[in-house]
Amino acid sequence: MEIKKPAIAGTLESSDAQVAVEPADSGIELYLESSVMNQYGRQIKATVLETLERLGVENARVTVVDKGALDCTIKARVECAVFRSCDASAANVPWGGAVR
């Protein structure tokens, strides 16, 4: 998927993460801030990158502010932000396909 416009998903509440995506020219730029950076920083990064790859996002600036979210929440927020940036979040989402 191509990031067409800036989009954001999630909140700054505990157990949640806020993910913002913006168009970028070459590759993925990932900025991560987390309340559990020392313990889980690497795992969160891996989850974000894996999710972007699964969605076929090749170029994007991605900012994640994590408040101790589970992996499944990180995935949900990244996916929602990407689908929102493509105006594709409201209907016919490929549940179980690219979203899994």
């Binding site: 998903a9 999630g10 509440e13 505990s14 157990s15 949640d16 979210a69 589970l70 992996d71 499944c72 929440t73 995935k75 949900a76 927020r77 996916e79 929602c80 689908f83 929102r84 979040s89 409201a90 209907a91 016919n92 989402v93 549940w95 179980g96 979203v99 899994r100």
Partner: protein, 304 residues
């Protein structure tokens, strides 16, 4: 991936607790409270501009979190919104046990949802008929059509009244003795029993009024409800206590089932237990009491 067992149309549903599907902090450990069912909400708890985000969150919660024995129902948006079709797709794809139809007013509403569920089961390769349905009656029209709604589909397991909206339509407010909804609750119960589905009461929203809550739960039990919708875990324990059969009821039920088996094996149809006439009509009730007692951890027999 957590494979959930096939949903049971008839199971213990004393407590059904609402949870906002958009809030990861709530849904990640909803099963620890011990309610019989959780109701992940895509409708009123989720702001209009977060409906999409709630679905992504719901999908991954359903696929990742092990809710164990707790039943997982999803409340979808009303049929008069642009959201309900996608809500159904995500429920079925995620493997929710059942869907609660908000603002249901007719059998046609149930059929409309059923058709979309069937299409989604086909699309996502889910066993046909797996996804159960229940209806929330929130208007006078819904109450008047309660029977046709309850009987509209073999997927229907129950019906619930939604007090907030209903009272608004009736121009009333919650009353101490429940007179504001007495007729509606009664009509819905009769319809549910006639159609052979379960029946659940509305939420009690004033968390500071424990006395009022307890009075309402006792009335629910006396009227014959199967259970109650809840908004807070602290309400669970009292409902489970009230809906649990008493020691006396359990002993009586055990006696009845035992005596019935012995007597019918001997060719006798009607007999007495402790001076009361018993025939086959008493057996389903007695068996239900024993099943409920077992689910409440009060009985360990093997009669049922």
């Amino acid at each position: 991936m957590i494979p959930r067992p096939k949903p049971e149309r008839f199971r213990l549903r004393r407590t059904m607790m609402f949870m906002n599907a958009q809030k990861p902090g709530l849904i990640k450990d909803a099963y620890i409270y011990g309610c019989d069912s959780i109701m992940l909400d895509l409708e009123d708890a989720v702001a209009e501009n977060q409906k999409d985000a709630a679905r992504f969150s719901l999908y991954h919660a359903l696929k990742t979190i092990d809710y164990g024995e707790t039943e997982v129902i999803v409340r979808i948006n009303g049929l008069d919104t642009p959201h309900w079709q996608e809500d159904i797709r995500v429920c079925v794809a995620g493997g929710a046990d059942g869907i609660r139809i908000a603002k249901c007013e007719s059998a046609q509403d149930v059929l409309t949802v059923e058709k979309a569920v069937e299409a989604a089961e086909e699309e996502f390769g889910v066993e046909k008929g797996r996804t159960l349905l229940m209806a929330a009656l929130e208007s006078p029209k819904g109450i008047l059509n309660a029977y046709e709604i309850c009987a509209a589909s073999p997927r229907m397991f129950g019906v619930a009244i939604s007090g907030g909206d209903f009272r608004k339509c009736m121009q009333t407010t919650p009353q101490r003795d429940g007179v504001d909804m007495l007729a509606a609750r009664g009509q819905m119960l009769i319809a549910a029993r006639a159609a052979g589905v379960q029946c659940f009461d509305t939420v009690f929203t004033n968390l500071d009024d424990q006395e009022g809550f307890e009075a309402e739960v006792l009335q629910n039990k006396a009227m014959g409800f199967d259970g109650k919708s809840l908004i807070n875990p602290k309400q669970i324990r009292f409902v489970h206590q009230v809906f649990a059969p008493t020691e006396k009821e359990i002993r009586q039920a055990e006696k009845i089932v035992r005596a019935y088996r012995e007597q019918s094996a001997a060719g006798v149809g009607v007999f007495t237990v402790d001076g009361k006439m018993i025939d086959i009509a008493f057996i389903p009730g007695a068996e239900r009491t024993l099943k409920l007692a077992r689910a409440c951890g009060l009985w360990e027999g093997d009669l049922v």
